[in-house]
Amino acid sequence: MTISKKIVLIGHFGVGKTSLIRRFVENTFTEDYKVTIGVHISKRTINISENEDISLIIWDLEGQDDIKKTRPSYLLGTNGFIYVFDLTRPVTFEHLNDELAFLKENFSTVPVKVVGNKVDLVNKIYLKEHSEQFDNVVDYFVSAKTGSRVEKLFAKLAQDLIQK
């Protein structure tokens, strides 16, 4: 049996939402940056148990520097959010708590995974320096470029959705 779930990726411009999806769906990566306009939809089905598959219908929304500017109708019926920020650009995570509070307020029952992308470009010292901002908030430090922890991120979200 296959069940379908709507996953929405949100975050600022250029944080790597599209790259994360391409890594997960097509296992590819390109350095070329093409801004997403409107929305782009992708799909990948993963096996979660012997007789159970889950189809993740992934909505890649255009970047917004403020989550409140996101077109509300795109967020309707979302089963799981992935909030992506760029570890190398503090401007993309300086209002992280406000953004997450907005999601909590409007989509209280929907699981949210918070993801710091481009971990291949920072070192442990940098992560430690920002630990106050990241600890207890960030679920995964990932890299769309190397593929580090991308699979794990989506697999965990899928598991959470099944258990709900």
Partner: protein, 272 residues
């Protein structure tokens, strides 16, 4: 006879032949000068030679220059595909447009003949149907020639855009992706035209028409090929409403296999 006269007589005797020879050479030179200096006369002489050479040259082109020209053209086309396409596009476009216009004209004439010449009960009913439905007689005949066909039916959850059920005769595209994208397009259009209680009802895509029938928590998208007009739209709406009512779709929304089966049963004979 003095000395000079004697000398002349001797000259005449000795040089007669030479003089004649010189005279003949002078004549020939004169003719040559005339031939070269007067174009017309030169043409008369040279043209047959040039023509013959040219004919041979033309005859030999495929063998001598053919391979070189072909390989040069191939290389040029390969190296500048974009330029070739740019150059050919308008010409091809005009040719296709002219062809389509011609075919449409032929079809139109055929239809007009059919409308004008046929006097029958069929025409009488068609005219009545045309007036009642507000569709031209030509459109009705066109519809007879190119019946609308249901290619795919997708039941989609409003908001999330998740696929609830699907039936298609020929697999056209990934239905999950189509459901998602249609919902995104629908949301965008409906957000853009802020007026309340309005919704996207129809999308035209190349040779296909996507009819959208809205319900409260879901909507049905029907992909149609052929002529989609007001009459077909009305009939289709009736069919969809009847289907929704007959099968109490709202209760089947969470049962994808059963709802898909019902769709197939209901629409496999799509003679709407």
């Amino acid at each position: 006879m003095n000395q000079d006269e004697k000398l002349n007589i001797i000259k005449d005797i000795l040089l007669t032949d030479e003089r004649e020879f010189v005279s003949s050479i002078e004549k020939k030179i004169q003719i040559l000068e005339n031939t070269i200096n007067k174009q017309k006369e030169l043409s008369e002489k040279v043209n047959p030679i040039i023509d013959s050479k040219l004919n041979n040259f033309v005859k030999d082109i495929p063998e001598t220059l053919g391979p070189t020209i072909t390989s040069t053209l191939k290389a040029e086309i390969k190296n500048s595909q974009d330029a070739v396409v740019e150059a050919l596009f308008p010409i091809m476009g005009k040719m296709i447009k002219r062809y389509v216009q011609h075919e449409m004209k032929m079809l139109s004439e055929k239809i007009n003949n059919q409308v004008n010449k046929t006097f029958s009960f069929k025409r009488f009913f068609r005219r009545a149907k045309s007036k009642a439905a507000g569709v031209s007689e030509s459109d009705l005949i066109l519809q007879d020639h190119n019946n609308a066909k249901i290619e795919q039916i997708i039941v989609i959850e409003k908001g999330s855009g998740l696929l609830l059920a699907e039936y298609s005769k020929n697999k056209m595209a990934d239905e999950d992706m189509v459901a998602g994208m249609l919902t995104a397009i629908k949301s965008f259009v409906e957000d853009a035209f802020i007026k309340e209680d309005q919704s996207l009802q129809y999308i035209e895509y190349d040779l296909y028409h996507i009819h959208i029938q809205n319900f409260s928590s879901f909507y049905i998208a029907v992909v149609i090929s052929g002529v989609y007009n007001v009459i077909f739209k009305d009939d289709l709406e009736d069919e969809l409403l009847e289907f929704a009512d007959k099968h109490k779709i709202a209760k089947l929304l969470q049962n994808k296999p059963l709802l898909s089966k019902k769709l197939e049963e209901f629409f496999k004979n799509d003679d709407i």
